[in-house]
């Protein structure tokens, strides 16, 4: 079997199927309000993450290609980071059922990634270079961390509402505690902001090298800087003013929805030099 077959057919598709499976079992766990399926789903998610990791390792070591130059690989890397971040939180705190909200996002990203395989999506040769890889990698990790922060925020809002309703509720028993969710939001912002900062800097330096200036007023650049600005402000408020809990969760979710909408608008109505697909 040649290495492409092995990578795509076995590892990538295997990961995709395992992500789907874990998503379905997580949803089943939510519907039946039982934690035991979620426990199984976490293991399947771990397996999916393992296959996915092997896929990247295989692509890099076996074929020596750089996954940060192709859009579908970037999406798949985004999914991989989200799964990894969630699983590392799961190791430290009992936030198991948070996976029911992370896993579907991961799966959708993987689906989009697998659909766009085969299209013209490689970064032009002139732009290729070491800094592009660092730029893309850091930016993706930063944005994936913000996504996890926002998913945790969404679950926080649900749980907060359930506790404030002062009624016995099986879903409340299932969802993680407020403090754990808030802590995840905190850690994700704390790591995400500096990483995205470095990613933007790397991109800006590279832009100067290949395009002649640090900043081109490109829609994608503006969008990314907005993302950075919003989450940097949130992190600042969190650390300096002590915005915590409900307000922070709400703002994370609102910011995420607005940014996602802006991204879709940007993709549909604007042309950008930053698009390679």
């Amino acid at each position: 079997m040649d290495i492409d077959m092995l990578l795509d057919a076995f590892l990538f598709r295997g990961a995709l199927i395992a992500y789907l499976l874990s998503t379905l079992i997580y949803i089943f766990s939510l519907l039946t309000r039982r934690v035991s399926p979620a426990r199984a789903a976490t293991w399947i998610l771990t397996a999916a993450f393992g296959l996915h990791t092997l896929f990247f390792l295989g692509a890099w070591l076996g074929k020596g290609y750089n996954p940060f130059l192709r859009i579908h690989d970037i999406l798949s890397f985004f999914a991989w980071v989200m799964a990894g971040v969630y699983l590392s939180f799961q190791l430290r705190t009992k936030t198991r059922v948070l996976g029911a909200f992370v896993s579907p996002v991961v799966f959708v990203l993987m689906i989009v990634s697998s659909i766009s395989i085969g299209g013209p999506m490689v970064v032009p040769e002139i732009l290729q270079g070491g800094l592009v890889t660092i730029h893309a990698m850091l930016a993706v990790i930063g944005e994936a961390l913000f996504t996890v922060a926002s998913v945790a925020g969404l679950v926080y809002l649900i749980q907060d509402g359930l506790i404030k309703s002062r009624k016995s509720n099986k879903l409340m028993k299932l969802l993680p505690s407020l403090q754990d969710l808030d802590r995840i939001n905190h850690s994700c912002l704390l790591w995400g902001v500096p990483l995205l900062t470095l990613g933007i800097l790397a991109g800006s330096i590279w832009a100067r090298t290949v395009w002649g200036s640090h900043w081109q007023w490109d829609p994608k650049q503006i969008w990314t800087l907005t993302v950075w600005l919003i989450y940097a402000v949130l992190l600042h408020q969190r650390l300096a003013i002590g915005w915590k809990g409900h307000k922070m969760a709400l703002l994370s979710v609102v910011a995420f929805v607005l940014l996602l909408a802006a991204l879709l608008v940007e993709k549909s109505f604007f042309t950008t030099i930053h698009r390679f697909y």
């Binding site: 035991s36 705190t93 009992k94 749980q159 506790i163 404030k164 002062r166 009624k167 016995s168 099986k170 409340m172 028993k173 969802l175 993680p176 505690s177 407020l178 403090q179 754990d180 808030d182 003013i241 002590g242 915005w243 915590k244 809990g245 409900h246 307000k247």
Partner: protein
């Protein structure tokens, strides 16, 4: 089957009568030896808890063992026979099995789903084993009961969902803070309820206790009980800034903690989550405080409602438990039925016939060289040898079954010859 279960529980007997029995049994004598001494009792188990007294025995047919067990209960209960008899229930065979399973799985408990009863049943079984009162039937039955209890615990929600007010508070605290480790608790006002809730919180990891009371001496005294810190009643705001959980139960007529006060404190504590439990009537904490972000306010009624709702949930889950009990009881009876003599002899013969057949086929290679007559001769010889070997054990089984004591032999034969499959 000849299983009999005689007992009384919180539903059938008032506490005074249950008490008499368990006290009598605690006075250094064990009823097991006495029960075992009753003619016709083969095996016995004695279970006694605050809510029940039960005797389970395997008796032989045509004996008055049941009457004698009852007589023993009356004697130790030290009460009129009629008064006692009204409190007793008697279950036989499959009903006794189901009852034992229900008891072990806490379906029959006063607080359904409470976990202690399984340990008590295990202890009762250990005593029976120590007194050599448990044999093949009860051993299997009790192990089944433990398995049923475990299944019901894991497969239904009967043991989850807090059904007491203070435990409901602990569960809520866990859903807010994740863990109670390192969490600080402030008690405002002294009272049995608040002390109980505080003890629950400490048991689940709650760290430091602060106590405030209008009479400061009382606060000092209570703080000493909890190894906590007494705080000044007039400076509640300062301690509110530090703590995570507040339990308030003063006799004050107005609000001790107003909405403004809590909003101000929250700012100073940088919006750290605050769980307020108001168990005072009239209330101590302005109910509007519950609308503030990051403040979670529950009063006595809220907690009671949750406990009640959870009890409803447990009752629903108990129905699933009953299904498991019924299915498992059936499986036990199936096993029990294999323990009779005739089916055992039949399966023994089937097994040996199968072996002869298989061996003859294996030997077909050289048997072919013999004439037809000789081949038949070999078959007859093989059958004769096996029948001779089986003759004595089978005769013995039949004799024992006449005397009603074949169980142990049947069980041994089934095991030695693996008549129940490899499992």
């Amino acid at each position: 089957m000849n299983l009999i279960l005689i007992g009384m529980n919180h539903k059938t007997a008032p506490v005074e009568i249950r008490e008499r029995l368990s006290i009598a049994c605690n006075e250094g004598f064990n009823p097991l030896d006495e029960i075992k001494a009753i003619p016709g009792v083969g095996e016995a188990l004695y279970l006694s808890t605050c809510n029940r007294v039960e005797i389970l025995a395997r008796t032989q047919e045509h004996t008055n063992a049941e009457e004698r067990i009852k007589a023993l209960i009356y004697r130790h209960g030290n009460l009129g026979e009629e008064d006692m008899a009204r409190c007793l229930y008697v279950y036989r065979d499959s009903d006794a099995i189901r009852h034992l399973f229900r008891v072990a799985a806490s379906l029959d408990s006063l607080i359904m789903g409470e976990p202690q009863i399984l340990g008590q049943v295990k202890e009762a079984y250990r005593l029976a084993v120590d007194h050599q009162a448990s044999g093949i039937i009860l051993n299997k039955l009790l192990h089944r009961a433990f398995r049923v209890a475990k299944r019901i615990r894991t497969e239904t929600g009967i043991a989850s969902h807090a059904v007491s007010v203070s435990y409901a508070a602990v569960e809520l605290a866990k859903k807010i803070f994740g863990t109670l480790k390192g969490k600080k608790v402030l008690l405002i006002g002294a009272g049995e309820m608040s002390e109980l809730a505080a003890r629950h919180l400490i048991k689940h990891g709650g760290d430091q206790i602060f106590v405030a009371n209008r009479t400061h001496e009382r606060a000092i005294q209570m703080a000493a009980d909890f190894q906590g810190v007494p705080v000044d009643f007039d400076r509640l705001g300062d301690s509110l800034q530090e703590v995570d959980i507040v339990i308030s139960s003063t006799g004050a007529t107005g609000y001790i903690l107003t909405c403004d006060m809590i909003a101000a404190v929250l700012k100073r504590r940088k919006n750290r989550l605050l769980f307020l439990i108001d168990i005072a009537v009239p209330r101590d904490i302005d109910p509007r405080a519950g609308d503030i972000d990051n403040v979670y306010l529950y009063n006595m009624d809220n907690l009671q409602d949750i406990a009640d709702d959870n009890m409803q949930i447990r009752r629903g889950e108990a129905e699933k438990g009953e299904l498991i009990v019924a299915a498992e009881a059936e499986r036990y009876i199936e096993w029990f039925n294999t323990l009779t003599v005739v089916p055992t002899i039949v399966s023994l013969k089937e097994k040996t016939a199968g072996i002869i057949q298989a061996e003859l086929e294996r030997a077909n290679g050289w048997l072919r060289n013999l004439g037809e007559e000789d081949r038949e001769g070999v078959e007859i010889l093989a059958n004769a040898i096996v029948n001779k070997i089986l003759h004595d054990p089978v005769t013995c089984l039949k004799e024992e079954s006449q005397e009603g004591s074949a169980l142990a032999y049947v069980a041994a034969i089934r095991r030695l010859f693996r008549l129940d499959g490899l499992g």
